[in-house]
């Protein structure tokens, strides 16, 4: 009986070790507090993003432009210690998005590109502009080349049609700055 219990205990420990190993293998690497922009289409590569962070009482604790590294990573170290709970992010031509911030973790925000008019909303007006520019060469700062692949085509039109919705407003109700529209 004693031997049986011992065998069971050894097997249990082995299983726990294996499960632990698998969880360790499949875990997300430990990272500093970062915000990663996901769902970036094609070669779309934002350089900077406006962050508005609020605390538990919905007070704005950070309201500043931040650099975007490697087209998708926003260093959120400046948020640490501010007791920031939610972060609203606005990138030019992208609908503003909001996420609940987790400190010392990789936070991800799926973005929606296609705000050609810069009104923080993707609607029929954006679609109409992209339609009118189809097959035309994009100019140097063309908002209609949604995926930034150097041509305005049906992929850009599809992105606008799929992305139709309204972005998050600023937590303080103020309008977004011109340079992030």
């Amino acid at each position: 009986m004693k031997g049986n219990r011992l065998t069971g205990a050894v097997l249990l420990v082995a299983v726990l070790a294996l499960v632990g190993g698998i969880l360790f293998w499949t875990r997300d690497d430990d990272v500093a507090t970062t915000v990663e922009l996901t769902n970036l289409p094609g070669q779309f590569c934002p350089k900077e993003a406006w962050i508005v962070a609020t605390d538990n009482d919905n007070r704005v604790v950070l309201d500043a432009m931040q650099q975007v590294n490697a087209c998708r990573f926003i260093a959120a170290d400046s948020l640490v210690g501010l007791e920031a709970q939610t972060v609203t992010i606005k990138v030019a031509r992208v609908l503003a998005g909001k996420l609940a911030l987790r400190v010392d973790e990789a936070n991800r925000l799926a973005i929606t590109v296609g705000d050609v008019t810069g009104d923080n909303s993707i609607d029929g007006r954006d679609e109409k502009i992209v339609r009118s520019r189809l097959a035309l060469p994009p100019d140097s700062n063309s908002a209609t080349d949604i995926n930034a692949d150097g041509r305005i085509d049906v992929i850009d039109l599809a992105l606008v049609r799929i992305g139709k919705k309204v972005g998050e407003t600023r937590p303080d109700g103020q309008p977004w700055a011109e340079n992030v529209l």
Partner: protein, 438 residues
Amino acid sequence: MKARTPLRSERLVFTIVVIITVILLVGSAILQRIVFKAESVNGALHFTPTTLVAPLGKPLSLVLQSDFDASSLGAGIQVSIDYDPTALSLDSVKPSSGWTTAKIDKSPGTVFWVAVPSGAAVSSLSTRSVFATFVFRPLKNGPAEIKIDPTRSAIALMTSDATAVYNALNSVQNSVLTIAPSGASPIVASESTEPTPTNSGFGLQRLVSTDEIALPQAAIVLVKLQFSGRVVVNFGLTSSLSGSVESSSSSMYHALKLSGLESAKTYYYQVATTDSQGSSKLLGAVKSFQTVAISRNLNVDQYSFQVFPATARDQVKVYITAKDDEGNLLGNLQKTLSLKASRGEVKILPLSEVDGLYQATVEYTGTNRHAVVISATNGNQEVGSQAVIFDPDLIAKEATSGNQFILSLSENVVATLIGLLALLAVLTALLWKLARSR
């Protein structure tokens, strides 16, 4: 016969349950990491029919359709078409049910047409989807060609996880017409629902895949066709594609070498193939690659391992490259690289190295159809492995069937899953036997 004690039986049951649990946990972790990735769908755009005799002056309807390798969600299509304006004029373009024209630019000899799903942002597409009917009017007797420009055409599909939109256009095919006097009846090439090599010229030939291995002054372009055919690769430093290499024989698989390239330059290439009658041309999308340099570095950052083709009668080639952290090729690994196969009926010829490309021929001497895993190591380091199906009857099958089943998962993953299932089946049988003995 000595009866099994309850204590021993319980221990056995416990052990088996533990093993099954571990297998399921490991299996789910592997599946999570490897299998459930969104596969992109490829589309081949063409008019139907691709070959016909059309009466002069009578309206001629051509259906624009695309063959996809899986059903998908369509978000839009754009097509740019060129034709001889003295031989044809375009009367109208009528989108298919569920699609609406978003833009059309017409000028003599060319039309640019864009369509999107009506109402919703996406529309379900089957493996053969019709987008529109183009009505032309033949203007003079003689041959006429309708060409789809792959550089200005695109099919927007949404990924199955609805996170991205991508261009699924993989190849286009032109249409060849013969315009006859108005009294003649239209002769349309019949199309079978089941593709066979005998009718593969009529919109059924497809570029299944194209891939390239970039070298310092050359590149290898690997092409897989749906049916046997000859292949031409046009290439150049600009999209005008001034160079050209042609295959010497008709086959489903081609490995063509582009020579005389300059180092560290971006090259563009386009694969073209003709049907069995040589009357209709299939053009692939224009792709690009960058030639590399030979590194003096000794540290390998990444390997590329490719066995081509993945299905063969008796012979395949293994291509290996090793790159340093700057993306340049390492050319000093011939002594440490080694290949092995999972079956004994396989002969691996010695590896050779030219300009950083290590290649070896693998021959199959067996008489039955078998999957063989070919793997490579560099010292103790794993370089890569790939399963190949050797089928001595492959040529006969090509001549009778023409339909190829393409696995969307890699053969390695499928083999692993089959192995896990087999193990589970054995353990279940053991449990069943044990239960019965008690």
